[in-house]
């Protein structure tokens, strides 16, 4: 059991309000995509969940193994301890540290440290490329490899709920579809509940159980299934140019 519920949150930066009464939920084992082009509030929403931004109103709740916790007012460190992890936009690796050092830091939380050898092994099995590059500085990797490190690092904390912010940024189309497929694979292997923000509609829809479309900080459409999203007029207008 691990689910995420966001109720009527509004948030922004200083006097600029970005999110207006956003409500969404991700049920146990689901992959929900948050679709929207640049500047519509996808990252702001994920940052609000992680406590990197404090919403001005609304509620964010998680339920992990029957334990319901309100995340509003909690610090980022505390939220990660509760089993929520995020792959940040732009990857945010420690460029001067090696791949292995980056991953090790991901397992800083007490519960994850005990299983570090096991999770590291798991990450290297999933991304064999990273095993080859383990002693290399993260900043010297290619974009695709860096994204692998970012995803693997987020998994090192043994999360139950995984937030992924724009995994496609800066990647070649073939790498985007590989990365998206990897996220699905990891979700199944690790029994994760996934919320993924993405602007690449065609790729995101491949692994989505459901999705929301966010426009100017409002949820404009809620698709109950992947095909529901695909057949929506607004999506056609925004993404497919029809």
């Amino acid at each position: 059991m691990s689910k995420l519920t966001i109720n009527n949150i509004s948030a922004g930066y200083g006097s600029v309000q970005v999110l207006h009464d956003v409500t969404l939920d991700v049920q146990t084992g689901e992959t929900v995509v948050l679709l929207g082009t640049n500047g519509n509030g996808k990252s702001t929403l994920l940052k609000s969940v992680m406590g990197l931004i404090t919403p001005s109103s609304g509620a964010v709740e998680i339920e992990v193994d029957g334990q319901i916790t309100n995340l509003i007012g909690k610090g980022t460190e505390e939220i990660v301890e509760l089993g929520v992890s995020m792959v940040p936009e732009g990857r945010r690796l420690f460029p001067l540290l090696t791949v292995e050092e980056n991953l090790t830091l991901g397992a800083y939380r007490e519960a994850a440290r005990r299983k570090i050898a096991e999770t590291l092994d798991f990450c290297f099995t999933t991304f064999p490329r990273l095993k080859e590059r383990r002693k290399q500085q993260a900043g010297s990797l290619s974009g695709g490899e860096q994204q692998m490190v970012a995803v693997a690092r987020a998994l090192m904390s043994e999360p139950r709920i995984l937030l992924v912010d724009e995994p496609s940024v800066g990647l070649a189309p073939i790498l985007v579809s590989q990365m998206i497929a990897k996220i699905k694979e990891l979700k199944e292997l690790k029994n994760l509940t996934v919320l993924m923000a993405e602007q690449n509609f065609n790729q995101a829809i491949k692994i989505a159980d459901r999705g929301y479309v966010i426009v100017h900080g409002h949820i404009e459409f809620e698709g109950k299934s992947a095909s529901d999203l695909e057949n929506n007029d607004m999506i056609k207008q925004y993404y497919l140019g029809a």
Binding site: P88, R92, P95, L96, T104, L105, S140
Partner: protein, 290 residues
């Protein structure tokens, strides 16, 4: 030959002076210009307990290291709240540590005056003599051994432990650290405490090597920063190598050309190294701060 040995011993001593700064400046981006002043403070603490109670200066410094650690934690809290939080640390932070340096100096002058002071211990006048005119004065050898233990210990700590890795990452991306459930402010607080704790020990070594007066630390500001930059920001092993290099250069130049040349050649070596490797000897490639 003797100049080589002296150079290595001197290099070890320099490593002890610089290793704390290699954490504060090299890893945390805190320009602690008062670092040598704290070393002199540590030297005076060792001096008081040595002259009053006859205690061994190194023993005193180890006992006082936790006190210095707490002072460091406290100073970082003030520094964080006043400067770093608002992003005004670059210039005002420097001024802050300048102020701290003067406060330490003035307090020491008020209590001890401006005369040179020194410590007593059995081993200080002792010396091993080998064939070929090589001397191992314990006045230099003991500080060298302690410096090595401290430097290599810290190097091991920062490369092998979780905390050490977090310390290395904290200046690169504090927000990403929070996403790993690590509080960057706490890491910096403790790391700065460790940095100051080394001042206590380095201070005892200092007063064993030479007599002290309250503002003598100023002469070492240039050297310690040079060593940290020369070795490569953020690398403790680099700091050790940089310190050895400067110690050797200084000793050889002093022997063959006279002491007045040694600073010029030492800093010349720094410029030369940076010209060929801008990140320092062991600096990580891609470090844009160098």
């Amino acid at each position: 030959m003797n100049a080589l040995v002296t150079g290595i011993l001197l290099g070890g001593f320099y490593a002890a002076l610089a290793i704390g700064l290699s954490i504060a400046f090299g890893l945390l981006d805190i320009v602690n210009i008062a670092h040598p002043a704290f070393i002199i403070l540590g030297a005076f603490v060792a001096f008081i307990f040595n002259s009053q109670f006859g205690l061994d200066p190194i023993l005193v410094s180890v006992i006082f290291a936790p006190v210095f650690f707490l002072i460091g934690v406290l100073i970082y809290k003030v520094y964080y709240a006043s400067f770093e939080k608002t992003g005004a640390e670059a210039l005002r932070g420097l001024a802050f540590f300048f102020g701290v340096m003067f406060i330490i100096e003035v307090l020491l002058i008020i209590y001890f005056g401006v005369d040179f002071q020194m410590v007593q211990a059995d081993y200080i006048d002792f010396k091993l003599t080998f064939g070929g005119g090589v001397d191992l004065p314990f006045r230099m050898l003991v500080p060298f051994v302690i410096a090595m233990i401290m430097t290599l210990g810290l190097q091991y700590f920062s490369s092998k432990t979780f905390f050490g890795k977090a310390m290395q990452a904290v200046a690169q991306d504090p927000v990403a650290l929070r996403l790993m459930a690590i509080d960057p402010a706490r890491i910096k607080r403790i790391a700065f405490g460790i940095s100051l704790a080394t001042c206590s020990i380095a201070g005892a070594l200092f007063v064993i090597v030479m007599p002290i007066e309250p503002s003598i630390g100023r002469l070492y500001i240039g050297i310690v920063f040079a060593i940290v930059v020369l070795g490569g920001l953020g690398s403790q092993t680099g700091t050790l190598i940089g310190a050895m290099l400067l110690g050797l250069v200084e000793s050889l130049i002093t022997t063959f050309f006279g002491p007045s040349w040694s600073p010029a050649v030492a800093f010349g070596a720094l410029i030369l190294v940076l010209a060929f490797k801008p990140t320092g000897i062991l600096g990580r490639v891609g470090d844009t701060r160098g």
